[in-house]
């Protein structure tokens, strides 16, 4: 037990100052603004094309159906588009159950929402998380394109959640809503209202 106690001693390892400046300092907000706008711009454009084009919001999601059908192919020679069998099975399952009919509008609307939230800097880290989740799935499905770059940018924005939306709506949202471990002014006021007067 003493060995474990020594090895897993309750000791906090702090980040170096340059990392704290990079992710936690409001002085970096202009840099994160550029990253956020670029990422949001890309998502908005991709989502708007789907929202206003054919095969995503109409025609029973035929565009997504076509994409899934191409990606689950396993050629006789060469590598299949999807590396992991479990992911191919997952896409095949969704194809067999015609999930593309409702999944296509979900993807289109999510992409536009992620784009607009990132541009406005509202719930920046949450929007970046959903963006990264989409990138992750596109990459698993064998579509590289701009996804690796967008994925890395999204991860950086998540890491910089405290300052990435400072030149944006988060400048007011974060202090008002706070975080699950640190409620913001809105919840503190509610708590104060509930407290019985003495």
């Amino acid at each position: 037990m003493t060995v474990f106690g020594r090895v897993f001693e309750n000791r906090e390892v702090r980040d170096p100052s340059f990392l704290r400046f990079f992710f936690d300092n409001q002085g970096m907000a202009p840099v994160w603004l550029l990253a956020r706008l670029y990422l949001g711009w890309q998502w908005l454009h991709a989502g708007w094309d789907k929202l206003t084009g054919d095969g995503w919001m109409n025609q029973n999601g035929v565009a997504l159906q076509g994409f899934w059908e191409r990606q689950v192919q396993q050629p006789e020679e060469g590598r299949p588009p999807i590396t992991y069998d479990w992911y191919r099975d997952f896409i095949q399952y969704m194809l067999d159950h015609e999930w593309y009919e409702w999944f296509a509008p979900v993807i289109a609307v999510t992409e536009v929402a992620v784009g607009l939230l990132l541009i406005a800097g509202a719930f920046t880290a949450v929007a970046a998380f959903f963006g990264a989740f989409l990138n992750f799935n596109f990459l698993l499905a064998g579509s590289a394109s701009t996804n690796p770059v967008l994925f890395v940018l999204a991860l950086l924005l998540i890491a910089a959640w405290k300052t990435a939306g400072y030149i944006g709506v988060d400048r007011w949202l974060l202090p008002a809503l706070g975080a699950p471990w640190s409620p913001g002014s809105v919840f503190r006021r509610d708590e104060a209202d509930r407290r019985p007067e003495t």
């Binding site: 706008l37 949001g40 908005l44 708007w48 406005a120 509202a122 944006g168 007011w172």
Partner: protein
């Protein structure tokens, strides 16, 4: 100006950014980015002004 009016101005500024973003990306994928950047900074500046005005009004009313 009342607090509600000031907050409405701030909300409208950011809603305007979202609407402008959709119009600008339809206009030009490359060049639309720069006016959007300027609009975001303008909306942020409006928000800062609203915050100061609200704080001043609340301070004055105490």
């Amino acid at each position: 100006m009342g607090k509600a009016t000031l907050v409405l101005i701030g909300v409208l500024a950011w809603a305007g950014v979202a609407a402008a973003a959709i119009l600008l990306q339809e206009w030009d994928q490359l060049w639309g980015f720069f006016p959007l950047l300027a609009l975001v900074i303008a909306a942020w500046a409006i928000g800062e002004w609203v915050t100061r005005e609200v704080q001043a009004a609340e301070g004055g009313s105490r």
